[in-house]
Symmetry: D5
Subunit: 155 residues, 10 copies
């Protein structure tokens, strides 16, 4: 048995910080990183920010492009404890607007899901999302598409 247990393991949060730093230094985009990883850009971004576990090949590809070491690569593969907001109500305006959408339209979304599908939910696990630009002469628009499997309440 070893007599020393020094823990120098990189956490997923530490790895995320290293990613942001390397991405800025190398002038890479999330799209470029996602291409190297071979996964959709939203998934790749959330994975590198510490919210998804990567396969060995994905972790290798990301670490290689970002010129990061073995320890970060290992962290990319760890099972995350998910939840990325600093506080229950986010303060950053870009993120807050989505909380506001929930405050204003949450019960509306619930009503429309029930009207179309019956009692149940949109899965946030069997789920994908995308952020897109919609050209508009009065100002381009951000389109966020949330796409999750309908799960009916089923005993």
């Amino acid at each position: 048995m070893a007599s020393s247990s020094i823990v120098s393991a990189m956490t997923k949060q530490g790895a995320a910080a290293a990613v942001r730093h390397a991405k800025a230094r190398l002038g890479l985009t999330w799209t470029q990183i996602a291409e190297a990883v071979g996964r959709p850009v939203a998934w790749t971004t959330s994975a590198l920010l510490g919210q998804q576990p990567m396969s060995e090949a994905e972790a290798k590809a990301a670490a290689s492009l970002l010129d990061l070491g073995e320890d970060v690569q290992q962290a990319f593969r760890l099972q995350p404890t998910r939840g990325a907001l600093d506080s229950p109500i986010p303060t950053d305006p870009t993120i807050y607007r989505f909380y506001e959408v929930l405050q204003v339209y949450g019960p509306t979304i619930k009503e429309l899901i029930h009207e179309e599908f019956g009692d149940g939910i949109m899965s946030a696990i069997n789920f994908r999302m995308d952020v897109k630009r919609e050209r508009d002469p009065t100002g381009d628009r951000v389109v966020v598409v949330l796409n999750g499997k309908f799960l009916p309440y089923q005993w």
Copy 2:
């Protein structure tokens, strides 16, 4: 000057309860109500749940279809104090999943908006949304499309 000030005004919350009751009694759908009102279904639903002010014509059309009185019709037209969640973190699973999306993908959405548009936000004011069904042989999917004007940080 009147000597009595009995306040029996219908609030937007009271009106929303009356709408739910009447809708169930008459077996109407949000889509049918929206058609009568002449506005998109998501907007109409949020308005009748108390989160938007209606025009006189819209209020009249809604109240007429739902067989509700003048007091509810007046309430439909009031300027709302928006915010429809009972607690900062919603407990209803259908609504909670969208909070979970924010916890897991919030910083990802922020990164992708900044990468595509630069520093700024998706407006939640110049905004529309839609809830749709996507047919899928492995189980149909709920698609929620959030569509807001990009607003750049601009001093």
Copy 3:
């Protein structure tokens, strides 16, 4: 159009209170009510406490056995806004112990799910549960079985 909009609709919470009252007055058990309704006892109890929508037949059977009126029967059929705890951390000791289990064993459950199934969750929607008595000479035991479909993270 009606000129009066008096809202006397029974809410699911009001119906739940009526159920508790009638159940005590008539000396019925949840098991007896569930048999009349024709559904498992845990589901039936949660439905009558306002956390599930009932079909017309189920609502009728429950209201009939409990000698409750049309208004309560209507409330049984409403789509609920789920969430039954008075505060984020429950104070009632019988309920609190399950929160304590989550505090002490939550990350353990997460590890064991991931070890057995990979990255994903136990569904709380495609879900059933049961409360049973296990005879034990040193004191009988409460056995709560939570049974939900495994949902893998799937983009």
Copy 4:
């Protein structure tokens, strides 16, 4: 009396981090570790995550298999201050679903315990639990069995 009091003691949290790291490095499963320790896997996992005190023999067996030092072994034996969630309402979806079960079914569980046993609780101290896979053609299921001694309110 010593003149220096440098505190380099390993905490249970530090030991848990070392365990996760070593487990990943050595490719071990919780089941394998539990076998080496000679205790059920759920107990062993919760102990190594810092929620139970281990006996000297258990601590030795775990540290030996995981190739961890004397300091971690000592930490395994410490009496814990229990409570493993980062926030009162957990954000990780795998853990949150159990909180959701409590929100939706908490009062139901309470009713069924009282109906079967009378006034009292399921002990979370004289308690064991298990996480199992149930094969199902429509998708395997996670079964979590909570098993605690019934404790009647007794003055």
Copy 5:
């Protein structure tokens, strides 16, 4: 089936208010009420404040002495949802001092229980308590004795 479901059932909170009122009007003490009920004074007080269910005989004795009706008597017998504080941290100074004791001496109590009994807890279910006066020439003292069965952690 009845067509009306008017719920006029007395809640345990309503019954507690009625008790306080009647007790003041009749000039009774908790000790006198407890004698009539035939149970210890602390238990009786907590029961009449809505934190314990009474047997039929106990409820009858209490209601009779306090000159309260059938509805209150029924409420005395209901299974309570326990938890009597208005806010997580109590504001009333007489109650707050016990929260302060927990803040200052909580970890001390934990250490001393573990030293004397090993890993486990003092039951708050198999539990009794008493409030007594200790004569003291420098000022009489309040003595609160908490007495609960030791429950060892036991898998």
Copy 6:
């Protein structure tokens, strides 16, 4: 005037950690430490956990028995900022049960103090407490005696 202000002072929290570590290493009990210090065991424990200031002699005796240095000894003598719980509602089950007692019996304790003593409080300052074992054939019991001077409201 010195030009360097390096602050290496031991805090009471750091000293408490050193005490726990040394106590485990040396196999001492709180009772043995209290005897060396010459004060009751509950007071001594709370003092060494950082909730009381010690006299010079007490600090010396404790540090000597625990083989801790001058810096820890100084920390024992500091005036504490009291309050030892990590969160307003404690998560550790051994401590939580006392919070539960407060939730269930707080208003009862208040009533009984007022009935016996009139309007006032049990002091948590002019206060002592003890944790004892009560032998019982059906399982030994933890007895916690809280003993504080009655302080009447007095303008």
Copy 7:
């Protein structure tokens, strides 16, 4: 002495609701009401929303224009307990933006006040504010001017 103490006094909140109702019914603007009252529009609005006490003449003028009774007029004159937000962090978007300004620019405002005035604050008591429209070809702008006396820290 009267034997009945029925309290039917109008609160400032009730009066505010009556004002909103009457204002909508009569089609009046805050500017018109302020002119009748003879005070600035922002002050008048905050007073009628329950945040300022009015003089007898002001209360009379407001109640007369709004056709409200003596009870509301009395309420206008009461000393308020100030604080108009439903929750510590406002949910209504129109109000939230000002909380967001505080989150993003709060420390900036503090720095600039200290740079210009030294250590101190902008009074919120000796204070007036105004909301104005600024014409702008790219979209008109809301200008909110906060104007408070500087109060230096002064012992």
Copy 8:
């Protein structure tokens, strides 16, 4: 691929601390720094406190004047996660007064915006602000001008 991933990147918070330190050491004002940067003083202050991203030229000018290194300069250019308050309700009196303004006048501001502009908000993104001194014989006044584009609710 690098084998080491040491993350020594300066955060925006670290850069803000370096700015405050350098500013004090060099005796510079925010106004002087803003002139060097070539942007308004309120914007420059908020940027250097970590709430805005700077262009390369702005970052260079600021770092040069403040005699700070390349790492801080890089941090000035990073996209911020905005939100600068330590707690939801600020404790510093200079900042709190603006929260108090929101508590007392928030609904008033909302009413006046709606009266002048219709349903919508003052943008906090297309936004500028200024802090000015207004000379006044009874004591100079702090004038904070908030100026944001009106955004109408627009589906």
Copy 9:
């Protein structure tokens, strides 16, 4: 035994509302009421606001002067559950300033009490206070004198 238990007892909060109303209607001051009651004005005010129990004579004197009925008089005599703030952090500016004093000077007060008296507290039970005007040519001053018995920590 009565068969009806209608609870129409006046609470201390209801009584306080009746006092405010009567005081305004009759144009009385707290000082005049205190003189009638024969107690200090601060005590009398806090008692009539529901924070102290009154003797029979005091309650009679107050109710008589305020022309209030027997029910209010009874409420004056009830033992209060103390705590008068609507939220943990008060929003009303006149009250908030005292919370701010605690935020800024709390640890200072603690240090000075310990320096002058040793380890202990100022009693808030054996306590009196007064609010006075201090004439000052630069503006009169509010002087609040808090006067409580020193209670040493004493085991």
Copy 10:
């Protein structure tokens, strides 16, 4: 431009810790330090605990007496972000009692200020306070005098 930006600046919190340490080591009292600084003892204590900025001469005098370096002296002069409590509701009993005074007497203080001065507040900025001993044969008393300029609400 420097290429390294190591931030080793002493914060006001760090300086406060150094002060407490040096004060204990040198056996100084706050009164002695205040005399050296030439300011009242309450102000000096709050300044050295990080809640006030000191002038150069005051900082020099304090650092010299406490034998602290240039870095601490610089920190004494910094503009503070005020707010000294670890949690919104303080846990330390010596400080908590003042929060309790606010809970019990806050609305009373508000009433008495309004009765004597009209609508307004006691300033916490133009403010001084003192902690004194009042000799009393039944036990000496702590007298805390809060003295702030009255500020009338003034538009």
